[in-house]
Symmetry: C4
Subunit: 259 residues, 4 copies
């Protein structure tokens, strides 16, 4: 009865194949393992917590890696139940090369990297890979896809406001470079350097590590800061309109259904 076991597993592994509300108990378990693995990767990076508990964390990594390995193999095996990949060994290959499968492979691969990762910099890359396991969550969430749809419906306007932002970034950092460049060569001595100040001002972050000191530089900085308000207002306005539109369409559909 190998086939029916595969189908039983497929229904529990593939969120879209699960017909009851929410996630299957098996997927809920994987979501929890992903969450715990990410939190472990985050706190493990803190030397004050890690030093002296190396074996504990190594054990945790091996457990998470093993769970992800089993999950990967199960998903590969049950992919043959998916109508999209139901063509023998070609289906297996096509599934293995799909984006979700590659993300799974990357998240799992840290299991093996751990054995070689003794160097500090490599270790950091391993941790990045392990936090990438969060990307696996995308598989489980329909809600994020809904928000993504709303953003996509206005992607053109949002892209344009990004282009406008880039032009303003370029303009303000060029002006500040001209005005403040000779006085503060370290902070404004080139356009790329002035961009660091400019981006902090346009996004209203305002670290304050570098600030213009000449009167003309301060006037230009003030204008840049006011422009930054517009830069926040534009995407916010576009998104507000997009969400409002989505809600009204929803109401409209409900009304037509009732009639």
């Amino acid at each position: 009865m190998r086939h029916s076991l595969r189908h039983w597993l497929y229904v529990r592994l593939q969120p879209t194949a699960w017909h009851r509300r929410g996630l299957s108990p098996l997927n809920r378990f994987f979501v929890i393992v992903i969450g715990v693995a990410v939190i472990t990767a985050v706190i493990e990076s803190e030397p004050e917590i890690y030093v002296g508990r190396e074996n504990l964390f190594l054990a945790a990594e091996l457990i998470f890696g093993s769970v992800f390995l089993v999950e990967y193999l199960l998903r590969l095996w049950t992919s043959a139940e998916n109508p999209d990949y139901r063509d023998g060994w070609r289906g297996y290959v096509r599934y293995a090369l799909s984006l979700p499968a590659l993300v799974d492979l990357l998240a799992m691969s840290t299991l093996f990297l751990t054995f070689f990762g003794s160097q500090t910099y490599l270790l950091r890359l391993v941790r990045l890979a392990r936090i990438l396991s969060l990307a696996k969550l995308g598989r489980y969430s329909r809600a994020i896809r809904a928000i993504a749809d709303a953003i996509r419906s206005r992607r053109y306007e949002l892209l344009m406001s990004l282009v406008i932002a880039l032009i303003l970034l370029l303009a303000s950092s060029t002006l500040l470079y001209i005005v403040e460049g000779s006085g503060q060569p370290k902070a404004f001595g080139s356009i790329p350097r002035a961009m660091w100040w400019s981006i902090a001002t346009l996004t209203t972050v305002g670290y304050g590590d570098v600030v213009p000191v000449t009167p003309l530089g301060k006037i230009l900085a003030g204008l840049t800061a006011i422009t930054g308000i517009g830069l926040i207002a534009m995407p916010t306005g576009i998104l507000a309109a997009a969400f409002s539109d989505a809600i009204q369409k929803h109401h409209h559909d409900q009304m037509e259904d009732r009639e």
Copy 2:
């Protein structure tokens, strides 16, 4: 005539039982006491004001505590008039364990804690409890409930934008930890440490106490700051759509009433 006095008091104590507009004179008195108690607790914490006036503040605390004690007992006694708690001693127990009653108890309890609270740290917790007396105001406000309803109607979308914010927080702090970790171990030497910088940047607060110094770190910081704009835009857009929808539904209902 014990019963009718209880009813007379109940109508004056329970905002939803008061049939005229606004608050009853008794509740208005309690609102003022709460406000004065909170302001007292705030300014009392300032040593330059407190030292030399200990007895004055102690007297004020005793007065506020007594008023809250009397209020608590009256509310407990009149709870039997409330249809929800009209089942003898069981009703009293159920009322005493309800959230508003527990908040009242906590706010009142500072009266007794004051006698023991000589230690600095305990004293601070007492002040927290006394400022919690502000939560009692929630009992009086229908308007806050209206805003809470609007937020609740979009709680799913707002939750999702919080999840997206957390993912971005994790991603940017991991990247900055990798890039800036070796150069600035105190500020970026672990993912939790880098999170402090990351949250200040994503929310566009930008304290500037820690900033990346390498070119790659600055580029990633700039991208994080731009992403922060999107993070402000998403909940704002969702809430704007929610309020807009609530207004239109209101107009629609009014129109249908007229027809």
Copy 3:
């Protein structure tokens, strides 16, 4: 023909009595004088510009003060043409006590204050009074009144979001006072002191002159910063809905007019 001259002047002085588009030439002249007077008051406060040009600025102040004095007397005289104040000397008194007339009097009074204002601090108050002459502009602008109407239509919701902001301000400054108070007594040693940090964080200004240093303090600060996003989103959402509603009502009225 004293009466008809008064009417001729009244029409040119009172914006609502002027039947052609925009402002009368006389009012346009006063608007320009107000603007120049405000700019003069601003740049006059800068010692590097003021010192050595005292007489020039004194002359300018006398000219502006004289224009405002003449304007005040003309407005008082022509107020008898206004249907609201057409009851003899009582009308004059009632006009003189109306808000716009008092603002005019205050703006003009700096003419006399200049002669006595030799002390630095008094001089600064005089400058405040002179910048107040900008409030006279409110008389000329219908557009600001339109925006004020939109804000007023949602004043209740906006007030509630201010109340919520105050509660959050109180909560976050109390928590930071408890956690960081003993370590940084100067910055977090009392609730009012912690409020300075808290308001800079909740509004996402983030000066960075005081920041929490303990891990728990940083976690609470992060939560405060995220809450600050909601604090920006709420009034923005409310105002967006208000403006959207105003536009739609406008369209609706136009459509009904066409039918």
Copy 4:
């Protein structure tokens, strides 16, 4: 067949004359050259990159300048195909004096300026001019025009919120000058100086290079920061309403078309 070659070029040079989707291959080439020229101008300003590669950048500048020179001459020649400029040599003059042609001339002029620009300050102006070549992109973009239309439809309300912002800027900087001026003469010693702090606070940038230190100054600063939230909320709300309105009008037009 000089005429038909001119027409063939005109169709490929003038975006509005190109009848297929997107940009003509020739214009796509010019867009790429503009992008590369801007990036070159940005990184060339960084001494660490520029020094030692002077000839490389000089060569790049000559190439970009030559391309822009050829483009300018071609556009001038083909302008006679444009119905707006089809009146002989007068048309050529009128085209040469139109805004896009002047921008092209300025962007191209850096070709000649490079030969004379040995002085640091002049060199910086040349770089500004070369980054202005980005303004040429406006010629190719219909989408930016769409956003500009939305902004223009609410230009009056946006202008009013700018006026309100200026009044608040003036009020807060005057108050801080009065309160903090004597204590911190360098930062708050005049109204223009206090404006630097005020604009950083109202826009929620918050550099933190200058902050009030007196209790009254801090209270006023807190009020300014809260006002800043309103200043962000106003234009955002106006733009959100404008975009929402544009979307609904679009839907409405589509519905009428279907009927």
